[in-house]
Symmetry: C2
Subunit: 329 residues, 2 copies
């Protein structure tokens, strides 16, 4: 192991182990959606990014758009165990929702991109996803007359480039945020917003089940990576980025916002229901090698497991209404 | 040739040759969208049909929905020369828009279905399109809890069946109709709605260019089939349904509504622009074998051809705003 790898690996663990319980207020929505100073959100940037996000002409086949897999009809994911990409090949990992990615400090299951701007071009260029050469994307978009004015309004003087494409898509993605769910109304004081079962579930989530070891704050993430002891997993996950043993088979903690909409679950879609996920954690995982130290058998009763699922459902709000853009010709 | 085949073939021609010029009023929108008495439109049927239309779980891969090819972002088509289907194989014909299919008496390029109800299941079952066994679709939809109530509201007591799936999709498709374009405002009396070029184009369209031989009435169709003398065409088209020589290489007259949104053009997408299409007709087609008798060299000037294109653009209205449905889990 190179010593330079030690710091990010330690940080991944430090982040994941820093909080064991938290006041209700820590789950409140941040005042604003974070955006980098080099790409502040404007209506024109969001509109452009939305068009690009829906536009199949970004792919090599001109048939696959970002929405093909990050489908707003299916919680900004695809409902599949693992993704399908160019040529309809089945890929190794599940399509993560793009909901609330604005609040993540690491993108992708293995965290190989930090910002949405860095991430946006990845799936376009990946030969197993949208299979398009990035220079070709720029050239093809330049041939679509209607895009010229849209880019000029969004990024005056910057033109159509990989950089402005990425920034526009990132701007749109930052609008894809969760709405208030029953849980939010409850933490703001509406006692009737959540059922007693869900309230018990939340107490277990923070307490006996220790879910908040990783699922923390408004977005229920820790920006860390964890090996959950999934049976049969052969995917090295974060280890490809940070080659230390504890990152072998470790994947990024996903948001739990709107989690009822994004079945199936885990990086490989191996569990169809939230009940199966909670049962997995109750067993403390199935494979002990490189297992995250937070996983251990929880001895939850059947009812307690159901209560946690009720709480998880209370994290699902009204999904965002999205109108289909009319793409420039 | 079987004698039973003669009548539909003759009808195809009779329809196509019955009108040479028409009063402006003949282009007015019909009072209501036609729907069969066995499947009258209700909000519940339309809502269900919209969900099904957007749902990739109707395909064998669970990845392709009706909207993948009939994309509301691209004029309810896909912008490709010819369609892409299951396995991302490139197919032989262009994806037709579903805009105004409610007004068609024949569906598909070769007219092999008459009603939208008959047509709706075709692409789901076709192994080169959505590649799903229809019994599987029914079984899979029955497993999605949220669909039960939607079907019950739409078709009380009828359950989830091939029949109700087809009827619901057809009901949604009947809402996909063109809006008033500049041309409509002009025929209703707003002289300034169309440019003088477009007005000259319309006069040519009805007169010297004889486009109304086939493109008639509100939807600019004749429900007929015509061999347009396309260079290199190997596709038998309507002949597979009606095996008479005149139907060899003949395809259904497509709507011209919103035609500026649905490039490329012709059944095989061989022309990228409307200018190329008009130039083709001006040449009277390129292949004389089985050529439709209406096609002959038009001797239009460059300006006249441009005027017709201006008129065609004036048939494009504001595209329909569509919100993405949230699919049941």
């Amino acid at each position: 192991m190179k010593s330079g790898m030690m710091i990010p690996a330690l940080l991944d663990l430090v982040i994941s182990m820093s909080v064991q319980a938290a006041p209700k207020e820590s789950f409140l929505r941040p005042d604003k959606v974070p955006a980098p100073s080099s790409n502040q959100m404007t209506p024109e940037r969001v509109e452009l990014g939305k068009a690009l996000f829906f536009d199949p002409r970004l792919s090599g086949s001109n048939w696959i758009s970002c929405t093909t897999c990050h489908n707003p009809a299916l919680g900004w994911s695809d409902g599949l165990p693992t993704a399908i990409g160019h040529g309809m090949k089945i890929l190794g990992r599940a399509t993560p929702t793009i909901l609330n990615t604005a609040y993540q400090r690491k993108q992708m299951w293995d965290g190989r991109f930090r910002t949405l701007e860095e991430q946006a071009l990845g799936p376009i260029a990946a030969d197993v996803e949208m299979n398009q050469n990035l220079d070709n994307v720029v050239a093809e978009l330049k041939e679509i007359t209607g895009y010229h004015a849209m880019f000029e309004k969004a990024y005056p003087g910057e033109g159509i480039s990989k950089d402005t494409i990425a920034k526009a898509i990132a701007s749109f993605e930052r609008t894809v945020v969760s709405s208030d769910a029953a849980f939010d109304r409850w933490i703001k004081g509406d006692e009737k917003a959540m059922s007693d079962y869900a309230k018990k579930g939340f107490a277990l989530f923070e307490g006996k089940a220790n879910c908040t070891a990783c699922h923390q704050g408004f977005n229920f993430i820790d920006d860390g990576f964890h090996n959950l002891g999934l049976k049969g997993n052969q995917d090295a996950g974060r280890h490809a980025q940070v080659p230390v043993a504890v990152m072998m088979g470790a994947f990024k903690t996903p948001t739990l916002r709107d989690v009822a909409l994004t079945a199936p679950y885990m990086h490989n879609g191996m569990y169809k229901t939230l009940d199966e996920v909670v049962a997995h954690y109750n067993r403390g995982g199935d494979v002990k090698e490189n297992l995250d130290p937070n996983l251990k058998p929880l001895n939850l009763t059947e009812q307690e497991q159901k209560d946690i699922v009720e709480f998880l459902k209370a994290l699902t709000g009204e999904p965002m209404m999205v109108t289909v853009p009319h793409l420039p010709q």
